[in-house]
């Protein structure tokens, strides 16, 4: 009795931390670093903007080009009191204006209308990355029959299974992890209290780590001589649950074993990073450059793990990461181009943190000949949100909408370009009330949407080196061959790297 996808997921008891079956934390042969042939020595970071990021105020038409995007935008997003319009032109004072976010080196044009596009002024760091050719903007990303529930839509993006073709609760990247890694590997880490849905699966272990400094196994300091005896008993009890427990007991058994195992190697990553990279350790906390945020601190944890992993620290194999930033569900108080506004602060938080992170990687790699060499070339970040917002604003905010932009960032990314067309924001062609552009995959549609699975598939194929046929099996076409509405992409050949 499927009530909601959420309950379906809750029930299915799929592994978060741990598909480990069996015996001992000690003497496990996993302290060797196995490298999957697919992703190799590269890393993938997924950054989720939770709550539904307003894409129409993220990538913004600067002028009309051959169409009317700017005019349409100004009709939908007011500039008077309570308005959230981003002004085109040099800003003054509080409102910085869009010249701030107008990429200057490469043409940043809507392929459909030729309108010049700009990034939200809070994303100046992304503008620089775009200009440097390290950032791709995907426009109008969505899926058939868009759902405006946060919960349902997040699950759709996580599973990559919009209309239930696969009827799976496993994540799109989780299906890849399960195929590629064994139960004793730990290929992924979510920087949070729970494992991200996109990595959900049963075949291998994904950790949830909030902070590495707190990831040690807690012992009673009064009787240190008893620690080994306690761990031996813990191991036997959890091993029994993992081997012979049923349902949730087995799940907890597996998770506990993976946890106790990782707790032996991961905390050291924090200590090493702190001792060896104090300058960058501080930068993530430096407010003057946009640090001291949950995103910058989460990315610092990723940097610590990559720093150790690239040097071959035993027991650290993670290649896949997830972090998320909340606060995008701005039905009100969204604000416009003022640096104090909520949406502005969110965009600055994320873009500044990503910049610090890549500066850190660049510095880590400088002059090195081991795995740290060329590190910025080996890391890519994908940024996404479960949906965008309504075209027409409400009172200083926006209700739930459909298609939004995605970003792909990294030194190996063939960036400085925009893929896909800006959504049609002409309110005359939308229902004023529901106010969303319908998803369309019709080749002839000038406002053709980007199916987010095309982005996922192209990453699997070209970053994880997964063969075309395997990607197609991971992200199958929708069964109903309706070219106007359903996904008809099959080649996964978006030019990403």
């Amino acid at each position: 009795m499927p009530i909601t996808r959420r309950q379906f997921l809750r029930r299915s008891s799929l592994a978060t931390a741990g598909g480990l079956i069996g015996p001992s934390i000690f003497g496990r042969s996993m302290l060797q670093n196995v490298m999957a042939e697919t992703i190799g020595d590269r890393y993938f970071v997924s950054l989720f903007l939770s709550g539904g990021n307003d894409g129409l105020n993220t990538v913004v038409p600067y002028n009309n080009g051959g169409g009317s995007l700017r005019t349409d935008y100004e009709l939908a997003r007011r500039s008077n009191s309570g308005g959230i319009q981003l002004a085109a032109g040099p800003g003054s004072g509080a409102d910085e204006g869009l010249d701030f976010g107008l990429p200057t080196v490469n043409a940043f044009l809507d392929p459909n209308t030729g309108a010049q596009l700009a990034l939200h002024p809070g994303m100046s760091a992304f503008k620089d990355m775009y200009d440097a050719g390290n950032l791709i903007v995907f426009q109008g990303c969505g899926y058939p029959e868009p759902n405006l529930s946060h919960d349902v839509s997040t699950n759709i993006w996580e599973t990559g299974d919009p209309i239930g073709t696969l009827n799976t609760s496993k994540g799109w990247a989780g299906r890849h992890l399960e195929a590629e890694y064994s139960p004793t590997d730990i290929p992924g880490v979510t920087i949070d209290n729970s494992v991200a849905g996109e990595y959900r699966q049963t075949g291998t272990s994904v950790l949830a780590i909030n902070r590495l400094s707190r990831f040690g196994f807690p012992f009673d300091g009064e009787y240190e001589d008893d620690d080994a005896a306690k761990l031996a008993a813990f191991d036997a009890i959890y091993g029994e649950s993992a081997s012979n427990g049923s349902g949730s007991a087995q799940f907890i058994g597996n998770s506990g074993i993976a946890t106790a195992l990782a707790a032996q190697s991961y905390p050291q990553l924090h200590t090493d990073y702190e001792a060896e990279r104090p300058l960058f350790d501080d930068m993530y906390d430096d407010e003057s450059i946009g640090g001291r945020t949950s995103t910058s601190r989460d990315l610092r944890e990723v940097a610590k793990i990559i720093y150790g992993s690239a040097q071959g620290v035993p027991g650290v194999n993670a290649r896949f990461f997830h972090l998320n930033n909340g606060g995008y569900d701005n039905h009100s108080d969204q604000g416009g181009g003022n640096p104090a506004d909520r949406h502005y602060r969110l965009h600055r938080e994320v873009s500044a943190a990503v910049k610090i992170f890549f500066d850190d990687l660049t510095d880590m790699a400088a002059g090195q000949t081991d795995g740290r060499q060329n590190l910025p070339d080996k890391v890519t970040i994908l940024i996404w949100s479960e949906f965008s917002r309504r075209i027409i604003q409400n009172d200083n905010g926006t209700d739930h909408g459909t298609q939004g932009p995605m970003f792909l960032i990294g030194n190996s990314v063939d960036g400085g370009k925009v893929i896909g067309n800006h959504p049609n924001i002409n309110s005359a062609v939308t229902d004023l009330y529901n106010g969303n552009t319908p998803y369309s995959q019709a080749a002839a549609d000038p406002y053709r949407s980007t199916d987010f699975r095309d982005v996922y598939g192209s990453i699997l194929k070209n970053w994880m080196n997964v063969p075309q046929g395997t990607v197609q099996a991971t992200l199958p076409l929708d069964p109903i061959p309706d070219p106007t509405n359903y996904w008809n992409v099959s080649d996964f050949d978006l030019p990403l790297f």
Binding site: I3, T16, N193, F215, D220, S246, I252, A263, Q393
Partner: protein
């Protein structure tokens, strides 16, 4: 279905107390057994608690949170607090958004007062609850720019669910938009009271002030079996008494029928309460039986529904089917442990007096459950979603803090106060395991099995077997603390 005249065994009594409260204290078990209570008698008595109007009030959200925890630890009406937790998750309002601890405390009391009462009454109060009105933007919902945040969640989460028991959608986007119009104009005054602002209300097509003819009449649920193809025109039902539109919308919601002509609200709420108290994966027939037996689809009396759940066979199934065990919520794990070990938290910051000395709110946050700040309007994810490497380490850390709580007084863990092994030169380790697992309620049903038992005995004897000399304080103290910690950290203790 179950036999309400069936007399409770000790194992059943313990299970009932664990699910309806925080752990099974032997004194409460004895009360049931000594009175030879039946399922029905015990359920009636548990549901017959006097409603407390406690509200966790403080300027500081941390202190308010910890006051609630303290109240849970000492309350005699544990079922009431379990229900308040359920409704807090159901109407998952966060102070992160509301930013007003006093309003949060008022909402908490609203849950306490209505927790076993009438669900329709509760909804009518939630519609006008200042914390909720701020949380889901009712106060920012006005005719010029309707805000559909509350209109959506009142259907998706509070009353109907996205899909029914057969997987069919319960409502459309148009229903949400039309519902949002009913709530335009509702605001909160400076005394934290809801009021209706006529000038901000969308009076609708036909009214002389109506500037939005394209929105059409205020009709919801067109095509629903309860209302036919034309749906329900709540605008017409309210007439010019515009402030009653939200009540007419509620009337329609409470009459809504799902794809199998079942009352949708009744089955949604029953499904939610069943997954909370009885069975994480209920059969549709079980949900239907509970609604039918309690007449919840006509009366919406929560206590009647709970009674039927508490006497049903499915409620007691975890005693014979380990797949029906449920993962304890973090707050349940914490409060149960403190109650069973007869321990109190220390100071107004309410910390465990050992180990990390983190305040209890931080410990719960690390376990994935910050009360009064649920992660989103969906509340918390239950069952195995509570379990990750990060949250498990937080539970292990709490267990460690408990056994490291030393010194004097009620905030410390003193094995000699709980177990009578002092001055014993030759103790059978099996008896130690018996006493510890019995105290912590993991000795029956699918309790600690032979492999776990052997592991604990090996731990107590350092692998040597035989009898233990507990006359030595250090050995006794070390091993008793250690064995309690191991049981608290065990998968079985995480379940109930």
């Amino acid at each position: 279905m179950g036999d309400l005249n069936s007399q409770l065994s000790e194992a059943e009594a313990r299970h009932l107390l664990r699910r309806t409260g925080f752990g099974a204290d032997q004194r409460d078990v004895d009360k049931i057994i000594n009175a030879n209570e039946t399922r029905g008698e015990a359920a009636t008595r548990l549901l017959d608690f006097k409603v407390s109007k406690f509200r966790p009030r403080n300027r500081d959200i941390d202190i308010a949170h910890n006051k609630w925890i303290k109240f849970m630890i000492r309350t005699k009406s544990q079922l009431q607090e379990k229900l308040v937790l359920f409704w807090h998750d159901h109407f998952a309002t966060s102070n992160d958004v509301v930013g007003d601890v006093s309003q949060m405390a008022d909402q908490n009391r609203l849950f306490r007062i209505n927790c076993k009462g009438n669900f329709r009454t509760m909804m009518d109060e939630i519609n006008r609850d200042p914390a909720m009105m701020d949380f889901l933007d009712t106060v920012r919902n006005r005719k010029e720019e309707p805000n559909e945040n509350y209109g959506r969640e009142v259907k998706e989460l509070f009353c109907l669910g996205v899909f029914d028991l057969d997987g069919n959608p319960n409502y459309t986007q148009e229903d949400i938009v039309q519902t949002a119009r009913a709530f335009t104009g509702w605001r909160v005054n400076s005394k934290d009271q809801a009021y209706f602002d006529d000038g901000r209300h969308d009076k609708g097509t036909g009214h002389m002030d109506d500037p939005f003819p394209e929105r059409g009449p205020k009709v919801i649920y067109a095509g629903n079996d309860a209302f036919g193809m034309n749906g329900f025109d709540y605008g017409a039902a309210a007439g010019t008494a515009y402030e009653t539109e939200i009540d007419h919308v509620m009337d329609a919601i409470f009459q809504h029928q799902d794809s199998a002509q079942r009352n949708t609200v009744a089955h949604w709420i029953a499904y939610r309460l069943i997954t909370f108290f009885a069975d994480p994966e209920p059969e549709t027939s079980y949900v239907e039986a509970m609604v039918s037996a309690s007449n919840f689809d006509t009366t919406f009396e929560i206590s009647n529904l709970l009674f039927e759940i508490f006497v049903s066979d499915e409620f007691y199934a975890p005693l014979t089917d380990p797949t029906k065990l449920s993962v304890k919520w973090p707050v349940d794990y914490v409060v149960t442990t403190l109650r069973l070990l007869r321990m109190k938290l220390k100071s107004r910051f309410q910390f465990v007096n050992g180990g990390s000395f983190d305040e209890i709110r931080d410990e719960l946050t690390n376990m994935g459950q910050t009360l009064l700040e649920p992660p989103s309007v969906f509340g918390w994810d239950w069952e195995t979603s509570w379990v990750s490497s990060s949250t498990l380490l937080a539970r292990y850390g709490f267990a460690r803090d408990i056994i490291a709580a030393r010194g004097r007084g009620k905030t410390t863990f003193r094995p000699d106060r709980l177990f009578d092994f002092a001055e014993s030169p030759a103790v059978d380790p099996d008896i130690v395991v018996d006493e510890v697992t019995s105290l912590l309620g993991v000795d029956e049903g699918f309790g600690i099995g032979s492999v776990e038992r052997t592991a604990l005995v090996d731990y107590l004897t350092d692998g040597g077997g035989g009898l233990i000399d507990f006359s030595d304080f250090e050995t006794r103290d070390k091993k008793l603390r250690g064995v309690v910690g191991l049981v608290l950290q065990s998968p079985r203790y995480m379940l109930h």
